[in-house]
């Protein structure tokens, strides 16, 4: 089966479960007979630092790294981390980001010195990304994860939202089976709920901007 190529640049903050997210997608691809590869980050940067995974789907792709300007989508588990990797996004590509912001402590250390300085906001991030694409959707993944029953399921909320994209070539059933197979047994139900709630959130906003599977 020739799958259309799809590259999604995924980013977040160390500890948000980004590698698990890419593993869930990869394992779903393995079971669905779709070729996938990733360039991942492990080690030093995971200590509350900025992290990223290059997720690539396609029969002929060899580079685990997405070229600059080569990502069909940017999926960010934290809003500032969407802006940090803007160079990877194709002009007009999809930005799917968590509206949660975790301010780096180095930013806060500057912030306390001057009342006039404001933190960078989700709106700031959207406005800047807006110069590269008009397809930007921010989702309250933390709020939705809490609604699903566990704040740690933010990553799966975002996966649910990503799964609605028509261009994302992995079948929803394979993704859900993979979630169930790869999260701890007692957390399967809450993660599947997070996936479905993420989908619903995408239907409310993302799918008004981009073609989605219903």
């Amino acid at each position: 089966m020739a799958t259309k190529e799809f590259s999604v640049y995924m980013s977040g903050v160390g500890g948000q479960g980004l590698v698990l997210l890419s593993n869930v997608i990869g394992a779903a691809c393995a079971s669905a007979g779709i070729r996938a590869l990733t360039g991942e980050q492990h080690g030093l940067s995971q200590r509350s630092g900025s992290i990223n995974v290059h997720m690539r789907i396609g029969e002929e792709i060899m580079s685990p790294l997405i070229p600059i300007g080569g990502a069909d989508a940017l999926l960010a588990l934290e809003a500032l981390e969407a802006l940090r990797y803007v160079e990877y996004l194709q002009p007009g590509g999809v930005v799917l980001m968590n509206s949660r912001i975790q301010h780096p402590i180095a930013e806060t250390a500057v912030h306390i010195k001057d009342k006039a300085i404001k933190y960078m906001s989700v709106e700031d991030v959207k406005n800047r990304l807006g110069q590269v694409t008009d397809k930007i959707s921010a989702i309250d993944a933390l709020g939705i994860a809490n609604k699903a029953g566990n704040p740690l399921t933010e990553n799966i909320v975002m996966l649910g939202a990503l799964s609605t994209l028509e261009a994302f070539p992995v079948p929803e059933s394979a993704l859900k089976d993979s979630v169930a197979a790869n999260v701890p047994k007692k957390a399967v139900e809450v993660n599947l709920k997070a996936f479905d709630l993420g989908k619903e959130a995408a239907f409310e906003h993302l799918c008004n901007l981009v073609k989605c599977r219903k």
Partner: protein, 627 residues
């Protein structure tokens, strides 16, 4: 993914990290002995072997350091068992003493060393190129590009090792180790573990003087034979398009080359080298003869470029070779598709289809004011508290800090920016010894418990013996925290969570003859500063042990026991905004509220180490969940 696929019976397909695929390959090859010290980007090899250890009967140690790990494998493979070790690039520096000699003595059972370089120094103190280790030691070297190939090569390496009686070096780089992909699982055909009879004559593995000279002649013959075998290796792949443009590449460089060719819409011949020592001269010469222009795509040093240039001298002196020497590629940093596209485009004198510099310039403009998110100490990390206590205790004392490799290395990054030197595992002690001769300032050395057992012991022995005047701080957090909280000699478990004898730091140090040892708990911050201050005021050598388990490790154990992770919150009505918590402690769980600018604690991130509460002069930080 993960352990489940590594132990799954084949055949089948699995999505695996390259490091997991390496483990799977070794298991399919019936490896019997595993020993390693963790180090990125190879850590997941050790972790995976440790995770699945209870399902198999191989013997495994999480070694005190890479040299011991290599020697453990050497001993077992001399006897006749198959063994594997893995280490990061700089780990092989530590192990290299035995590595080179082991090439002389050889082994009987297959032995594989996976050594991973880290171009870009993502998690390392340098960008060293490990490839010269192959020729320097006359140890055959192979290089995979992806998980599928890595698994295949590991299995091949065990056979090669046994055919020639020599360990095999599998050299990888970060972007190979940390690449996941679809891997074919084969059958796990394992024989029960059994000891073997030592069937060697006396002196068989003794290399010194006359025997070393004899071994040297033998290993040269061996290398020639291996080169002949590599000339037909399936791991050296030629794609002959008939073009007079060719590309020679290997490892990660190959992956970017394939994508770059597509992006540029060109059709060059490609030689992908999988056996990089001894380099197969004949196929390389044959490839060069058909070309007018060749581009060498390899990260770090011009290793292939040097040899290909030498081979071209006779094979095709007219061929133009482009690479690092011609300025088309750099010896610094890792490559990516854009760098390879730009490098090849420059050789061809064409414009790349995408202007990467323009995209980067626009991105830079869009990111104005976006703060860097440096890696930092986790919420609850005892190191943050220790560093705060150290600086309080040394207030007013001019001092310099010789630090070492571990999570605490991050103290030099913003916003803490503390630390004056860092070289290599255990180096803080020797460096401090030199500093105390050279400067008037008080000299402090700082090392983690795992690094201390790895390479700090000789440095402390030296300091005690000579009476060197510095204070050593040992950060005792029970585990090798930086690489993912693996056990070490100060832990009560080892690989596969099997019980192990825990060495007690203060007993070890007292045994060395040093009595001046101060032990503090960094969470009990107020009571840690005083004793530290006194210790710093005494003549060295003396030792401060700051003892508290790694927060990630402690939290994981709490969750296992079903205990809740508690959090703190800021009482907004009490907070007078001196920001003591933020400006002296820099915990990533802290931020400032947009509305009234009081401090705020993220309930998702807080670990309730409670140190910030103890530091707050107004007592505004209390147990509870923030908004």
């Amino acid at each position: 993914m993960g352990a489940a696929d590594v132990v799954r019976e084949g055949p089948g397909k699995a999505f695996m990290l390259c490091n997991e695929a390496i483990v799977r390959g070794a298991l399919e090859a019936d490896v019997k002995i595993v020993s390693a010290y963790p180090g990125s980007p190879t850590t997941e090899i050790l972790d995976t072997f440790s995770d699945v250890a209870p399902k198999f009967d191989y013997k495994m140690e999480i070694a005190a350091n890479e040299k011991v790990a290599l020697e453990t494998c050497a001993g077992a493979s001399m006897a006749g068992l198959r063994s594997i070790t893995s280490m990061k690039s700089v780990g092989l520096n530590v192990a290299s003493d035995s590595f080179v000699s082991l090439s002389y003595t050889g082994i009987k059972g297959g032995m594989v060393l996976v050594v991973a370089d880290d171009p870009q120094a993502h998690s390392s103190q340098n960008e060293q190129d490990g490839r010269p280790f192959g020729p320097n030691a006359y140890i055959p070297m192979i290089e995979p590009s992806n998980p599928t190939e890595a698994k295949k090569m590991v299995k091949f390496a065990f056979g090669l090792s046994e055919r020639y009686g020599v360990p095999v070096l599998m050299r990888t780089t970060t972007r190979v180790n940390h690449q996941s992909g679809i891997v074919e699982l084969e059958r796990l055909d394992r024989k029960p573990f059994a000891k073997v009879k030592w069937d060697h004559p006396p002196g068989r593995f003794v290399t010194v003087a006359e025997s070393a000279r004899n071994f040297k002649h033998a290993l040269l013959e061996r290398t020639t034979k291996i080169e002949q075998e590599f000339s037909d290796s399936e791991f050296n792949v030629v794609k002959d398009t008939g073009s007079d443009l060719g590309i020679i590449t290997s490892g990660a460089g190959y992956n970017y080359t394939v994508d770059a060719i597509k992006i540029l819409g060109i059709n060059p011949s490609v030689l992908k080298l999988g056996t990089t020592f001894p380099l197969p001269k004949d196929p390389i010469a044959g490839f060069l003869r058909k070309l007018k222009t060749v581009v060498i795509v390899e990260e770090l040093s011009p290793y292939l470029e040097l040899h290909c240039t030498a081979i071209a001298k006779d094979a095709n002196p007219g061929v133009k070779i482009f690479g690092k020497w011609t300025g088309h590629f750099s010896e610094a940093l890792e490559y990516n598709p854009n760098i390879v596209v730009d490098g090849i485009a420059k050789v061809l004198g064409v414009k790349p289809p995408v202007d990467y510099n323009a995209i980067m310039a626009k991105a830079k403009e869009l990111k104005t004011g976006l703060h860097d998110r440096w890696p930092t100490f986790c919420p609850g990390c005892p190191h943050r508290a220790t560093l705060h206590a150290v600086r309080q205790a040394l207030k007013g004392t001019k001092h310099i800090l010789s630090t070492d490799i571990g999570c605490y290395s991050m103290s030099f990054l913003p916003p803490i920016e503390y630390g004056d030197s860092l070289l290599s595992m255990g180096a803080c002690l020797g460096v401090a010894a030199g500093m105390q001769y050279a400067v008037e300032e008080k000299v402090i050395a700082m090392i983690g418990d795992s690094t201390f057992y790895h390479a700090g012991l000789p440095g402390l022995v030296n300091a005690i013996h000579h009476g060197d005047d510095f204070t050593l701080i040992i950060l005792d957090n029970e585990v090798t925290a930086m690489t993912g909280q693996q056990p070490h000699p100060g832990s009560d478990i080892s690989a596969g969570d099997r019980p192990a004898k825990r060495l007690i730091l203060e007993n070890v140090i007292r045994g060395m003859g040093l009595e001046d040892i101060t032990i503090v708990d960094p969470y009990d911050i107020k009571n840690a500063i005083g004793p530290m201050k006194e210790a710093f005021s005494r003549k060295g050598p003396n030792v401060i042990i700051s003892r508290r388990a790694c927060a990630l490790y402690a939290d994981r154990n709490k969750r296992k026991r079903g205990e809740r992770i508690e959090t703190n919150k800021v009482e907004r009505s009490v907070c007078k905004k001196p920001y003591t918590c933020i400006r002296t402690f820099y915990c990533p769980a802290l931020s400032v509220r947009d509305d009234d600018r009081t401090a705020e604690i993220s309930k998702e991130l807080c670990d309730r180490c409670d140190v910030c509460a103890k530091l707050c002069p107004f007592g505004s930080i209390k147990r509870g969940e923030g908004e």
